[in-house]
Amino acid sequence: MKTLTELNLEAALAAHDPLARERAITTAYRAHENASPAVRELAVLAVQFPAILEPIEEGDLFAGRIRYPLVSFGPEPGGLGYACRAEAIRYVVAGRGLDQEACAEAEEMIAYWETRATAARTRAAYPPALAAALPSDDWTRESGAGFPLYRMAGTVLDYRKLLQLGLSGLDAEIALRAAGASSAQRDFLDGLRAALGLAAASLRHYAAQARSLAADCGDPSHVAGLSTIAADCDAVSQRAPATFREALQLAWIYALLSGTWNYGRVDDWLGSFLVADLDAGRLDEEQATQLLCGWWRLMKAYDNQFNNRVFIGGRGRVNEAVADRFAMLAMEATRRTRLNQPQLSLRFHADQNPALMARALDVIGEGCTFPILYNDDVNIPAVARAFGVPEDEAVHYTPYGCGEYVLANRSVGTPNGVVNLLKCLELALRDGHDPVARRQAGPRTDDSSFACFEELWRAYAAQLEHLIAALARQEKIAYDVTGREAPFLFLSVLYDDCIARAKPLFAGGVRHLGGTLETYGNINTADALFAIERIVFQERAATLSQLIAALDGDFSGPDGEALRQRLLAVPKYGNDDDAADAMARRVHDHVCILTREQAARVGLDSYLVVVINNSANTLFGHTTAASADGRRHGQPLANANNPAPGADRGGVTAFLNSLVKIDPGLHAGAVQNMKFSRALFTRHRTKLEALLAGYWAAGGAQAMISVVSRDDLESALREPEKWGHLLVRVGGFSVRFIDLPSDIQLEVLGRTLHE
């Protein structure tokens, strides 16, 4: 599985004329360096599109593939804004054996962007104290408590408007707005119109390509498909879409041009086109499902990792019954394609057609892991509270990427900072010293001889406050610099209220300028603090310095191991233990409120924590020393808001009860992973439904459910300490898999997991 970044590099390596596109984009930027941001962006976009749109491949049902050159413009896929991937360029120079002249040219290009790339300009804008607080951007390799990220992630466009008006209708609306506008406003609005022209040109480019492919193709079945693509692209280059196919084609090309890769409430904006075609007999459900499968495959080719969120279901859709028909076919497409993309997600509420949830559980039960489930009855009021918006705005919440909420086409909320809470505790225990990096990394908070637990807590809080204040400033600076650099024309066209205000998205156009902060290690931190409180301050079974020595030594030696066992024996989050869970809540509330409070200080409409799933928990684990929850040096941090691996041994109901103790009204998204055996989806379906019903009713906001697989059992054989929660059925009994003797474990592994 390759990421877009890796695929982009491959394409650059294989290019006919290596680095030609990079040079052309650089030349265009250079020629317009002092032009207005809109004019400069257009100049670059005109080089970029349709040049970087990849050819239609055999079997594609729609036109639309893309690879970013190593110098590019966009919000995120190729890097932030104007981006230059210096290391990758050098890799291509070496890999293709380019001559000295080409090499010098490449170095000159890299040097040019060193001060002009949007990420570089962002860092250059940090005041000295901020630069000192955030010394490194290399969060995947270096040890540190917090790092900035450079991107404008998670924009969700108004596709409904795109499809209703078409490119020409949008152009007319902007022209109308430009009539009475000031000259600065007109510069921006004219840019929007020119971008729409580029979109039309890109569609015509694909139409021509499809026609010429059809002409050269001997297979009549392919000819028909290519001719349809050509006709659809031609049609929507001129007018609003009239059919499902046309609508999907237009939306897809627009998404690629804009550099967004999360599509919001697709059933809401595409459902009416689908149902009109079905009702008129232009399509049947089977054909429509195949079209969706084709789209799913193109999404996978676009981003293979963390994006491609497609939402179905939930309150606030214009016509629920119509959208539900789309939703059912979308689930079928996911079931059939069995791809890791798109990240199909179902919002649901108490009054929703129950067929959607029933189908969702079928699809999950087949091992698809999708759809991911979101409970509107909890989330809408929670989002209203967290974002400080009324519920009729909150109803448009749309999780993107790894699960950060935005208000579709109303808010932006890019996560541009990552924090490792466990590292903050690590620093607090050592007066700000990082034992992995071996340097003073945080403020001096105490001499580490804490007389009581609250003193330790204050030192931890101080480490975090220092960091989060810095990251909030950084987020606002990133918006300001990006807003000055470029209007992001494709995004601004389809974002409230850019046209009405005649302002670019990141320069005053967006209705709600939010930001998010990714926090990791939340649960390890809570478990570690709770264990310290118990063992050091209550039971006094070890002194703080003994504990720190054991952590520094990674629990080596008999004393270290004995202390580790004591720490492990202290109750952990995830078992419905009120005291342990209260600490998790305290850690959560503290970091969430602290983060939220920064918004007003730095000038954002909201700045909120997200607690999400990706590989950051593993990467941060590598650079985090042993911790007082019993975790060893280098081990992954617990994922998102989930109990530490294997810590939840109290049974599934206890686990679910713990989850709902964390307040969803303080953050902008948290992920809960759950695994159930296959039998729960089939033979014991009513019990699964009851477990989930109990969870939702108690305030469960979200669930990412997967089926226990053979891989899981194999991992449990390798790392039993992480799989204490895994139950299997043997001989009419439920037993903990890790407690079985190894020959029986192998036997259980051998039979397919159908229970």
Partner: protein, 255 residues
């Protein structure tokens, strides 16, 4: 009443196979039987024990303390028709505690199951009926000699109590461990079938023998029971089921 103390060796929350719905199963320590296939040797003695591994089996809890745990999943019971299951060991061996726990659960409207082998005087079992919604009743062997050899007790009392419970209209789910070359003989299958015919509403779970491991015997420093058996092949299990179905016990199923 609710400060009665019992010795509990495990509480499993979110149990999905111990009666209807989602349940909390409370395992009471102590058992008058010594079944040769017993998977829970730590459940047999009445006092808490410490294994060689340092693991502690059993702790004293009051009814109030147990109910504080049980109550936490009330919403899952309500959503699923689940509740409390008391298992063991032989839970009725801690009679007062067991009885008080059942009554306490019923007092809060929580559904109850009692997993028992029925080896207690009828009046005492009868008295529990008021607070037991479903009996999970172990039916271990038919012939007296086999029963004695495999469990250490005479079958008279458990067999008679089963018929008495059924006659009294109790809801019973029959749990039948089937051990090849031990109890899984034709006479035993016949007897199960007869019960099935007489009480068609009674569910019958067949639980084919499965080696779960003797690790706990070793940890407790107890000899592994001498049991000449094997894990039945899938075909053998299917044949038992067939036999019961064709003998008129249509409700028999794999547990």
């Amino acid at each position: 009443m609710n400060d009665i103390t019992g010795i509990v060796f495990d509480i499993q929350r979110g149990a999905l196979h111990d009666g209807p719905g989602v349940r909390t199963t409370v395992f009471l320590k102590g058992c008058p039987l010594r079944c040769a296939w017993c998977h829970n040797p730590e459940s047999q003695t009445f006092e808490p024990e410490t294994g060689r591994s340092g693991r502690i089996y059993g702790r004293a809890l009051t009814v109030t303390e147990v109910m504080a745990v049980v109550r936490r999943d009330a919403r899952f019971y309500a959503a699923s028709g689940g509740g409390l299951t008391i298992s063991g060991g032989e839970p009725t061996a801690q009679y007062d505690f067991c009885s008080a726990l059942l009554a306490a659960a019923h007092g809060e409207g929580i559904h109850t199951c009692l997993d028992t082998c029925g080896a207690l005087d009828w009046p005492r079992l009868d008295a529990l009926c008021a607070h037991v919604d479903v009996f999970l009743y172990d039916y271990k062997a038919t012939a007296a000699g086999t029963h004695r050899a495999l469990t250490g007790i005479e079958p008279g009392l458990p067999h008679a109590n089963l018929r008495r419970l059924l006659a009294a209209g109790a809801t019973v789910r029959l749990r039948c461990p089937l051990i090849p070359d031990a109890n899984a003989a034709p006479d035993h299958l016949d007897a199960i079938a007869a019960l099935g015919r007489d009480y068609p509403a009674m569910a019958i779970d067949l639980m084919p023998y499965h080696e779960i491991g003797a690790g706990k015997y070793d940890d407790l420093g107890r000899p592994r029971p001498a049991l000449e058996t094997r894990v039945p092949a899938a075909g053998e299990t299917a044949a038992w089921l067939d036999t019961l179905h064709s003998a008129g016990a249509a409700q028999a199923a794999l547990g």
